[in-house]
Amino acid sequence: MITIEVNGTSKQIDIEPDTPLLWVLRDIVGLTGTKFGCGIAQCGACTVHIDGKPMRSCSVPIGALDGKKITTIEGLSPDNSHPVQRAWIAEDVPQCGYCQSGQIMATVAFLKEFPAPTDAEIDANITNICRCGTYERLRRAIHRAADLIKA
């Protein structure tokens, strides 16, 4: 039995320890905002925060997470009010939307480390794939979110 805290709620997980966190979140905890895209930590659609650090949950086994605090897209804010969410809405970023939970979670963690990011810093750190190609608006939204956080 593994105990994790998901968005502030304690969860007892009884499953094979090599099960990736992604599938625990989606299939056991029932939080489907975190997405399966590749399964090999390439695309970032499954990005969540583990003790505040952005991680690709498809490649983190649950057995390594006893006592850890997990934040998913559902736990970012109760009402879409996190500055990154507000920036995403203001820039109308998502198209199909499937990768956007991961993009947002990656950006939230990134802006903690780079509160006033340059484009080069964004390029080096936001590596999630968006097949719809929303990068133009995504980049604008990252800058807007940085401004919102500062304000």
């Binding site: 968006c130 097949r131 190609g133």
Partner: protein, 734 residues
């Protein structure tokens, strides 16, 4: 699966507060549309459960609640293209209702069957047809409802309907100033049958559109609440992972499942004619891991020897064999014999996968007299028919709950995943969620066709082409989808972009030969055009440079007499700084295409490092969609289409070895990421006219040629096959 149909008040209020800032200043060609805070909503779960219809329907499309909120049903698919916002905007235009009180949900394909196609002849989103193919239908829906609401008010007041008008969900009796709200009239309006359907508005009469409007689905795509097919949760469901024969057409010979003895939670190993699936409880991971421990044996036949090298040789050899003629203007052969100079080149484009971010999946609950399917599909009506056939139930017993579609690009209308899920459910007799791995999604895709095009052109004394011939070898999409086509005609996709090129070359011949393989080929964003525009626009660039002419001016001359084409080309050149100086190692390329009745020209600015690394810095897009509903989503589609085409241009290639696709995941099938994404400026310039253009595809085809032509300008190296990453662009390399 029974979530609330109405978005929470909280998120909706937040959306209204933030939506006003979303419209960007990106447009030319339309007047300054007011920035309004109006915002319609859609629930995070976009489908209705088909269990009951609301009591206050005007008809199958529209229901009006006592609080004046209006439900509008959207009959096609939302896969990121924004049509779930655009089509209800068109209904709103005619209905004269309050957009801030509109909520939207998917129309039911089951109801469509039961009610004689009440949602129109097709529920499919493909071919950039969603808006332009529904425009008259949904305008009529809105206009009819409006006139019935007016008629209900006129009957109430006992006045002529002609004395009444409708605006913002209120009917006014103009002489007396009396008013009735739509909600007060809905019940009566539902019973009214008009003597004749009202005329729909012409674009000149529009007052609500075109208008940049934030997408209704965005708020659910920022908080994880948007439900994709992948997110369906059915009580008691089990999870299935599948691997089909990696060589398409092959069969399952045998599989030894003893390796799974004692593995936790395994429900069943299901053997299908061409695939094996493992079904497990609790998590998809269990099923996936167990499947990876099986080593099925396949019967692949002769196809197991096919390779990309061999296919390329076969296609190139076929270039000199007899072909069917798609277009033949003037006398190409005679013009060639008198031409001052002859140019010849062969262009080649590979198989590509669609690779939507959401891997293929379907969840089914098969009961004796009812089948429910949760899936993100581009064609919920066709999925219904396919599911009925696969299950043996009547179509009326099948309920397809279309979800937000996590990327389609042409892939999500084959229903192969739905049929597989039903086949598995028949065996395990429980609700099943089938998920494809990324590798399965890539290898079991139905690819963009491989094609080769041989060009031959003659130029006159002025260096301009006076004759050209284009000979294509490719495979048939129609054959793959099972559509018959006259054997003496060239199917449109085989030559799309070539036979309908815009250039006035008096002697033009376009021919094609179909060489089908065991690999199914499919529609892929801008079919035909997506590869042939790379070819023809690069070849024309070759001629221009060899003649010492400016590639932009050559195009401009060849488009004389076509002011719409010239306008788009000029806009791209002007906004893209054509002709302005660039540092060494950099270059600009230009290209233009027609797709789905829209026109798109692009200028790409590219830098090539001495190491050969290509960086596309800036892309300028000029797009003429003829008409617009929502310029915001059109610009978004143009931006996304450029990136989609750029992934293909730079990296995209499915290699065939031993009859199977080599690439599987994103480590081998590379896609453009943020760091490689250029700055994109979109200029919309609708020219009007008889037809509406499509907007979801037209900006994909030009980018490969624009980039390849820019690379030539920067390096003097001509790219004649894709992807660009296959070419050695280091300085000094041959």
């Amino acid at each position: 699966m029974h979530g609330s149909r109405i978005a929470s008040t909280l998120s909706r209020r937040h959306f209204i507060l933030t939506a006003a800032t979303a419209a960007g200043g990106f447009m030319i060609g339309i007047g300054a549309a007011p920035r309004t805070a109006h915002a319609a909503t859609v629930p995070g779960q976009p489908w209705n459960d088909d269990n009951a219809y609301p009591p206050n329907e005007i008809d199958a499309w529209i229901a009006i609640d006592p609080d004046d909120s209006i439900l509008i049903r959207y009959q096609r698919s939302e896969m990121g293209q924004g049509s779930m916002t655009a089509l209800p905007m068109m209904i709103t235009e005619e209905l004269q209702c309050d957009w801030s009180k509109v909520r939207i949900e998917y129309a039911s394909p089951n109801r469509n069957l039961r009610q004689n196609k009440v949602y129109g002849p097709s529920m499919r989103s493909a071919g950039s047809q969603t808006v332009r193919g529904s425009q008259k239908l949904v305008q009529q829906v809105g206009a009819s409802a409006r006139e019935r609401l007016i008629a209900a008010a006129a009957a109430h007041w006992i006045v002529p309907a002609a004395e009444c008008s409708a605006a913002q969900s209120v009917v006014t009796h103009n002489p007396s100033g009396r008013t009735l709200r739509y909600s007060e009239l809905a019940a009566d309006a539902a019973k009214i049958k008009l003597a004749a359907e009202p005329a729909i508005k012409t674009p000149a009469q529009f007052t609500f559109i075109p208008r940049p409007m934030p997408r209704v689905d965005v708020i659910h795509k920022t908080d994880g609440s948007a439900k994709f097919g992948m997110d369906a949760q059915v009580p008691g469901m089990v999870f299935a992972a599948i691997t089909a024969c990696p060589v398409p057409g092959g069969k399952l010979k045998s599989v030894d499942d003893s390796a799974l003895a004692g593995a936790p939670g395994i429900v069943s190993v299901v053997k299908l004619p061409n695939a094996v699936a493992v079904v497990a409880t609790d998590t998809f991971w269990r099923a996936k891991r167990a499947l990876s421990r099986l080593h099925p044996e396949w019967d692949v036949g002769a196809a197991g020897a096919v390779s990309s090298e061999e296919l390329s040789k076969t296609y190139r050899a076929a270039l000199s064999e007899p072909m069917l003629t798609a277009r033949n203007d003037g006398d190409v052969d005679q013009a060639m014999s008198g031409g001052a100079k002859i140019f010849e080149a062969i262009y080649e484009t590979p198989y590509l996968s669609h690779s939507p971010m959401e891997p293929m999946n379907a969840t089914v609950n098969l009961q004796p007299d009812r089948l429910d399917v949760w899936v993100g599909t581009q064609a919920a009506d066709e999925a219904t028919e396919a599911a009925a056939k696969a299950s043996g139930l009547k179509p009326e017993q099948v309920y397809v709950h279309n979800a937000f579609v996590g990327g389609g690009f042409g892939r999500r209308d084959a229903n192969d995943e739905v049929k597989q899920a039903i086949a598995i459910a028949k065996v395990v007799k429980r609700p099943v969620k089938l998920v494809w791995t990324r590798e399965e999604d890539t290898r079991q895709d139905k690819f963009r066709p491989h094609a080769v095009v041989a060009f031959k052109a003659a130029t006159g004394a002025d260096g301009m082409p006076s004759a050209w011939s284009m000979r294509v070898v490719t495979s048939s999409i129609y054959a793959s989808i099972g559509r018959s086509f006259p054997a003496n005609k060239v199917e449109p996709q085989a030559v799309n972009g070539l036979d309908n090129n815009g250039y006035n070359v008096p002697n033009t011949r376009v021919e094609a030969a179909i060489r089908n393989t065991h690999l199914p080929v499919w529609f892929w964003r801008a079919p035909g055009v997506n590869q042939h525009i790379f070819a023809i626009e690069s070849f024309l660039d070759e001629i221009a440079h060899a003649s010492g002419l400016d590639p932009y001016q050559v195009r401009r001359k060849l488009l004389a007499g076509k002011p719409d084409w010239v306008k788009v080309l000029d806009a791209a050149a002007e906004k893209g700084d054509w002709g302005k100086p660039l540092p060494p190692g950099s270059g600009r390329g230009i290209a233009i295409c027609q797709d789905d009745d829209s026109l798109c020209a692009q200028v790409a600015e590219v830098a090539v490092k001495p190491t050969g690394e290509v960086k596309v810095n800036h892309v300028t897009v000029a797009l003429d969609p003829r008409y617009m509903v929502n310029p915001l989503t059109i610009a978004e589609q143009a931006e996304g289409s450029v990136i989609f085409g750029l992934s293909a241009a730079l990296y995209g290639k499915i290699t065939i070895k031993d009859g199977a696709a080599v690439q599987g995941n994103f480590d081998t099938y590379r896609l453009v990421r943020l760091a490689e994404a250029p700055k994109i400026d979109v200029h919309l310039m609708p020219s009007g006219g008889k037809v509406w253009g499509g907007v979801a595809e037209a900006a994909t085809p030009p980018i490969a040629a624009a980039v390849a032509n820019a690379i030539f300008a920067a390096t003097g190296k001509r790219i004649r096959s894709l992807p660009i990453s296959d070419h050695d662009l280091r300085s000094g390399a041959a």
